[in-house]
Amino acid sequence: MSKSKIIRYQLVFIALLFLIALALVLNVNTGSVSMSPVRIFKIIFMRFEEGSVDSNIIWRIRLPRSLMAAVLGGALSVSGFLLQTFFRNPIAGPFVLGISSGAKMCVAFATIFILGSYGGMSAYPLVFFAFIGSLIVTGFVLMFSQKTKNMSMLLVIGIMIGYICSAVTDFFITFAKDNHIASLTSWSMGSFSGASWPALGIVTVVVLVALFCSVLISKPMDAYQLGEGYAQSMGINIKLFRWMLIILSSLLSATVTAFAGPISFVGIAVPHVSKMLMKTSRSLVIIPASFLCGAAFCIFCDLIARTAFAPTELAIGTVTALFGAPVVISLMIRQRRKKH
């Protein structure tokens, strides 16, 4: 690694941390009740006016929500990066693979047939069902990955499983009451609203563990870029490695979907942006970079979702897609142009 590269990495990391800090401040600062930054600083770091309305808004609503957006956004990006490595395909992502559709299917089943009306994100049973749904789809993808070695084919299988899940969801909806449909729709658009400290705690623990494990397999991830044959000839246990990749990425995306609903395009767009910023695909650099980049991206998107049409809140998926999709397109075109 040359010196200029290391300097580049450091600069980008510092810039990303700064962006996250800025985004957090902005996010906590903005809302229907406005407060001065100095006051917010005092409330957060000096426990100023504990128990007041303003303090509660910050501590109970804005701060956990912003932090949740940061952790989940980061998790989603890393999950996307892992899946892109696994499929060796730039469009692989939790959303494309049908993991979100699986979650939605189970959530639909639960809302319509078991839980009745659903009223907020803190509903842990929903988190549980979404998680199970994601894992079911992952299980199928894993099962088929034993049968085929062709990655594009496996990607198509994943997409097809997603369609099946959507079809089953639609089938459930046929028997649903209007209020169930409404709550399901609002769930499936994704949102960071209603984040709580205990939920944030759970998410942070799961995500950190998964992140740590991802860093541990960063060496084989780099070698895997040369294709399965070469990777194996360099001493990698391919089967074990592929299992690790898909389990870690599904764990991450299942966690996100469970707590915030399906959020599209972050998983695809952010890893690409990170690679462009760092000018490398080294996993050891890109995993943390994707995490920070995704965190910053999601806090900003959440800010836009909250404020653009206040007091009406947009779905987070609406914002991420609106900003994520053009980024993906422009990056792809730029990459192609460079190649030819």
Partner: protein
């Protein structure tokens, strides 16, 4: 023997494709697999590099079965160059080569000073130092092959297995690549096993050759034992055309019919004329050529009516008669322009004979086809 395969059966999902494969290679030697497309050369190579499960038999390195080694142990002894094209993202050629250090680096793949030195040594060996910082996605096929070879060298193997390393390469790059391999074998004492499509090159680079055809090894041995007579023709089922094992050259289908042209040849001067006539599907006769003349090699592949004379001996009267008879049958007589000296005066006689007989005498065959 350093690397050995004994009674090995290979194939896919339990179905045997080739059985009873036995061969061995010493360090510093090169073994080539040749044979028609789809014969299973790649299947053998994939099995002995453990990319594919064997069906029966044994493969050993220094008497140890490779199937009992751990992935990492094997990776330190054996490296490969595969046919699959790789598309690594944002990697420089240097980084691709450095991947060869994988079995030796720590858990985060950090390169030590020694690793870096080995990377640049490998790049120097394949003469690609200047590519080190270029993006891998931007280089040509020939350069890619060299980089992939450098990657394999960097793994410091005792055995190197290459699956058709010369495909997609132009002749210059083929020669360079094979030259590097010879160097690798002798300087680094590596045992090299490769599959090749170019049988002419196989004869020149290999110490040992294995011919794969059908469900077995058809023939094996040193190149001079394998490349004899019509063997290559039968190995590849060549029904038309021929392969000259001596020169390593390919000749296309000989023109059919009665020879209407006689070519007065010798000293290699006849070859361009033979080729021209072959392209126009014009049967020809030719003579009188000594059997050690290069013209003789091509003429006998392209014509049935070749009057040849035993080397280092005077030409007999009967050969002269034979040639005259062929001239009689032809309408045209081509003088290829071989020099006439003390020992081929018969050529002057033939030229005069053709003139007497009123044959159309040409210096080039073009007039025949316009």
């Amino acid at each position: 023997m350093y690397f050995e395969a004994q009674k090995l059966s290979v194939g896919y999902s339990g179905k045997v494709l080739i059985r009873d494969i036995s061969f061995s290679v010493e360090r510093g030697k090169i073994l080539s697999l040749i044979g028609p497309n789809g014969a299973g050369k790649s299947t053998i190579l994939k099995t002995i590099s453990r990319h594919l499960e064997k069906i029966a038999g044994a493969v050993t390195i220094e008497k140890d079965s490779i199937f009992r080694l751990s992935n990492k142990e094997l990776a330190k002894k054996l490296s490969v160059m595969l046919t699959e094209r790789i598309e690594p993202e944002l990697m420089t050629c240097g980084q691709v080569v450095a991947m060869g250090r994988y079995p030796y680096t720590n858990n985060f793949g950090t390169l030590t000073a020694q690793d870096k030195a080995l990377v640049s040594e490998a790049l120097r060996m394949v003469r690609a130092q200047e590519l080190a910082d270029r993006p891998f996605s931007n280089i040509s096929d020939g350069q890619r092959q060299r980089i992939m070879l450098a990657r394999a060298i960097c793994q410091q193997p005792a055995i190197l297995i290459l699956d058709e390393p010369t495909s997609y390469l132009d002749i210059r790059h083929k020669i360079e690549l094979l030259d590097i391999m010879r160097k690798l074998a002798s300087e680094k004492n590596v045992a090299i096993i490769l599959s090749l499509h170019e049988i002419d090159l196989a004869a020149k680079i290999s110490d040992h050759i294995i011919c794969v055809k059908g469900d077995r090894i058809e023939n094996c041995g040193a190149p001079e034992e394998v490349f004899t007579g019509d063997f290559i023709r039968s190995l590849y089922d060549i029904e038309s055309g021929s392969f000259n094992t001596l020169l390593g050259s390919v000749e296309l289908v000989a023109p059919q019919g009665e020879p209407d042209v006689f070519v007065l040849a010798g000293d290699g001067k006849g070859i361009p004329f033979y080729r021209q006539l072959q392209k126009n599907k014009q049967a020809f006769s030719t003579g009188i050529i000594f059997e050690n003349d290069v013209d003789y090699q091509v003429a006998s592949a392209l014509s049935k009516s070749v009057v040849s004379a035993e080397s280092f001996n005077p030409v007999s009267e009967s050969k002269l008669k034979e040639a005259k008879a062929l001239i009689d049958k032809a309408r045209y007589f081509i003088d290829a322009g071989a020099k006439i000296g003390a020992y081929n005066k018969f050529n002057r006689e033939l030229l005069e004979y053709a003139r007497e007989r009123g044959k159309t005498i040409l210096q080039s065959p073009e007039k025949l086809f316009t």
